[in-house]
Amino acid sequence: MDSVKIKTIQEFLIYQEALKRKTPEKVLIVSNATCGRAHGSLALVDKLKELWEKKALKGKAHLRFTGCLGYCDCEPLVIVRPSGFSYPRPSPEDLEEIIDESLIGGKPVERLFLKDPASGEVYHTENEIPFYKQQKMLIFGDNFELDPTSLEDYICLGGYSSLVKALTQMKPGEIIEEITKSGLRGRGGAGFPTGPKWASCRKAEGKHKYVICNADEGDPGSYANRGLLEGNPHSCIEGMIIGAYAIGADEGYVYIRMEYPLAVELIEKAIHDCLSAGLLGNNILGTGFDFDIKITRGGGAYVCGESTALMASIEGRPGEPRAKHIHTVERGLWDSPSTLNNVETWANIPKIIQNGADWFTKIGTGDVSKSPWDGSKGTKIFSLVGNIHRSGLAEVPMGMTLREVIFDIGGGMKGGKRFKGVQTGGPSGGVLGEEHLDLQIDYELMAEAGSIMGSGGMIVMDENTCMVDLARYFMGFLMDESCGKCIPCREGITQIYQILDKICKGLGEPEDLELLKDLVEVLENAALCQLGLSAPNPILTTMKYFKEEYDAHIYEHVCPAGVCKALSASKVTALT
């Protein structure tokens, strides 16, 4: 982008209008983010640039390289507009035909269409694709409409209009009230209502205040944040600027895990572009509001996803959590009031400001007119993975059932296997079984069942997953990632792991189950931070819902799933 410096609100509006007029009707979209690149999208990019030259398509049709389009099994996905014809993973040689037939000619190329892995049927357009059909893309939909490296694309789509509205038409208190009324709750997993959090931070005393974006996304199996950052980094930035204005912060940080190199690159560019354009820095759009964002990269520590550990890490210290007697909204980064929110939470802000709280409350569960705690509103992006037919990132309305997500969107179990369990919330969450398939996606309902909504990981497992082994896996993970500061976590998790390891090796005894319960109780009551406090969830849920599996390991020395090598029986014991 040529560095256009936008000095006033007026200039911005004129600029946005001009961009809107320039959008051509014919568009060829190719997803070129991490999953796309892993499957050869860069070769498609090169070939397309070549073909664009060759066919002199500049000005006649628009070539757009996007970020993640959600249906990761099919990436790179090529979509032609306005027809909507969608071609999963075409080879470079197919591209010319797609351009000639579909883009220019508006006709389908039958042989390249998507054959659904679940039903075997062929689907033509993006609207028909089963994976997308049941989703409600309030946030993620924009990924299709913009190039993540282009600030212009974002502005053209309406980006930063919410910022303008906030800066010109709303007072900070009003912004906070709107967010509170919307019922938006933290999408990082804890589900703390965003509005009240901002209100506390605004009230807190401090010369400097900070807004922080938690892009550490440490939960294995969860990559919704990556999808957002690689697809639409500006949505997060805009949210942060609005939040900073509402709270009174002058500096922001994005803490992003080092395992997401492309996302880091894209958010860096986005921030740089904003600075050049006058959307970040001093005197934003001439309003006198100063705000800048810096990036800190993670160092490969899961515990740094915890708010106090994350802030310690930004300060250059080891990421060891502290007890939260004083919350970070009062004393956080460098002892100053700080608001930490997840990427997805920030990405929701511009939409809510633009469309109003009522638009948001229409979707989801409960009634938040009295308090945001009384419902789960809006949508949540899940990384739907595991032994299902269709996997990827799915944005679903709160209140949708697990069954609908797993079977309607995910296409059900692969390879004719039976559904056994679904894991949500990463190592802080639990495993829910068949009896929970009709559970609605809702913060409280999921917590009641023993799991948590979490940051979005939803891993579906079939009969070939051993739940005892899975519990052991989670404990091994937490054992590695524990910071080591408090004894319940450092020692407790190690002991739990050793007991589970013993059970998986066929040396388990009945007393072990009692011992596990005791250890779990200590963790629940005495651990310093959430890592330790929620470590029991995988154990408790698997022991409760898959008790027969634990019993089989201990009493019969058999692993029904056939996973634990020491115990694999040659015949599979029926689980019903």
């Binding site: 991490t34 999953c35 892993a38 990761c72 099994d73 996304e217 440490g218 939960d219 294995p220 199996g221 969860s222 990559y223 944040n225 990556r226 080092m258 395992e259 997401y260 190199p261 800190t296 990269r297 993670g298 160092g299 490969g300 520590a301 899961y302 890490s313 930004i314 300060e315 250059g316 210290r317 080891p318 990421g319 060891e320 990384s383 993975v385 595991g386 032994n387 996997s391 990827g392 894991q423 990463g426 990981g457 891993i459 497992m461 997953t465 899975l470 896996y473 989670f474 993970f477 590695d480 990632e481 910071c483 004894i487 020692e491």
Partner: protein, 423 residues
């Protein structure tokens, strides 16, 4: 001057008499030098027995007494008392135990009798050298010093302090706790060492009866039991122990550059090469004015050189006046930092949940077997580094394997092929 020794041999009913020939022993005793009187009686410890001794002392001017009977534990006091009553110093007395140490442990009469004779001969020979002793009472200083504040010293100090005596606890290290503070678990209970030790350490600090002298050594001890004088050297410190709260902030600002031990590493590792120093200086220059320079510098060195060489970290410690221990804390906390040179190729296997349920563990094991290293290690020829990663967020592509940060598909039986293709 010659002594006049009285020898008294007890039958102890049949306990001694059944095995030892008392008459023969008595006859033998009469032949011993300086023996004035020899008597035998059924129960020497009885009143008549004791009277016998007392009368002889008075009437026969005895200067020493030997009683051959049972164990001193039983009746030494009895006979000493009798001797004293008769006006002779109680310590001019010797027992010889021909019961527990002779008649009760031997069956052979002849041998037992011979043994008894020799035992008495010994006692007689000894007793003539005894001197008069007087007991006396001394005031005991109502305080104790415990040297060494490991767990044993700590426990001892606490017990004494609880008994309401003043305790001086001397420890040569700056901190108490000793070896136990360095252990993770105790044997055989597998208790957490720190959990047992630290409450006691706190008690030491808080107890009104305990005066703690750490970083101090005992120089000299004089005096006697109950009344010792001890000279203690207190080594110089840079903090006022009265004011110290143990907050640790001084560690972060410590200007003392301490030399970590070099653990016998090769010469080339001890100092930076000129090239390395040039690169590190450049990196420091780039970041030194940032708000939080240290992680950025460490990150760039890690990327640029491939790992964090020990001499480079020492250099940073000196340049920024940050303790090396703090830098190591950061370097070992974050898995991104490597403290060893990395291989030419890095293979990362994702062990996130989705990849795990898709068999990532088996791929890892196949790689570990083929490369003969464990995850986290580098092959000795520095060709391959094998690592696990906890979720690069590409779960639909699982099981995820990254070769030099490129995604590849890998099955356990294709591992050999992959390794060959890289070499």
């Amino acid at each position: 001057m010659s002594e006049r020794i009285g020898v008294y041999i007890c039958h102890c009913g049949t306990n001694i008499a059944n095995t030892v020939d008392i008459t023969a022993v008595a006859e033998y005793a009469r032949t011993l030098p300086e023996v004035a009187v020899v008597r035998e009686y059924k129960y020497m410890c009885s009143d008549p027995g004791q009277e016998m001794i007392k009368k002889d002392i008075k009437n026969n001017n005895l200067t020493r007494v030997v009683v051959s009977s049972c164990s001193p534990l039983m009746h030494e006091n009895t006979f000493r008392g009798a001797v004293e009553d008769a006006g002779l110093n109680r310590f001019l007395f010797q027992m010889s135990n021909i019961r527990e140490q002779c008649s009760w442990v031997h069956g052979d009469r002849r041998k037992a009798t011979e043994k008894a004779k020799r035992m008495i001969a010994g006692a007689v020979r000894r007793v003539r050298w005894h001197r008069e002793l007087t007991g006396r009472e001394v005031k005991v200083e109502q305080s104790a010093m415990v040297v060494g504040a490991g767990i044993a010293g700590i426990e001892a100090a606490l017990r004494i302090a609880e008994a309401n005596k003043k305790v001086y606890l001397v420890e040569k290290e700056p901190s108490i706790g000793g070896h136990m503070a360095m252990f993770d678990k105790t044997f055989p209970t597998l208790d957490c060492a720190a959990c047992i030790l630290t409450p006691k350490m706190v008690q030491i600090g808080q107890h009104h009866n305990i005066e703690l002298l750490t970083y101090s050594e005992v120089e000299e001890v004089s005096g006697f039991v109950g009344n010792f004088n001890v000279k203690v050297r207190k080594k110089a410190r840079y903090i006022d122990v009265e004011k110290c709260t143990g907050c640790g902030s001084c560690l972060e600002r410590c200007p003392v550059k301490y030399k970590a031990s070099d653990n016998g590493r090769p010469e080339s590792e001890i100092e930076m090469t000129p090239e390395m120093k040039r690169r590190v200086d450049l990196i420091i220059d780039t970041h030194k004015h940032e708000k939080v320079p240290l992680p950025a510098i460490m990150n760039e060195i890690n990327t640029d050189i491939g790992y964090l060489p020990r001499p480079a970290l020492k250099y940073i410690s000196q340049q920024f006046h940050i303790p090396l221990s703090f830098i190591y804390h950061i370097a070992t906390f974050y898995t991104a930092f490597k403290l060893e040179p990395q291989g030419e190729h890095t293979i990362k296997v994702c062990l996130g949940t989705a990849c795990y349920v898709r068999g990532a563990q088996r791929i890892l094991e196949a790689l570990e077997e083929r490369l003969e290293i464990k995850a986290g290690e580098t092959t000795p020829d520095l060709k391959f580094t094998l690592e696990t990663v906890n979720c690069p967020g590409s779960c639909t592509m699982g099981p995820v394997v990254l070769l030099d940060d490129r995604y590849i598909t890998l099955e356990p039986n294709k591992v050999d092929q992959l390794i060959k293709s890289c070499t």
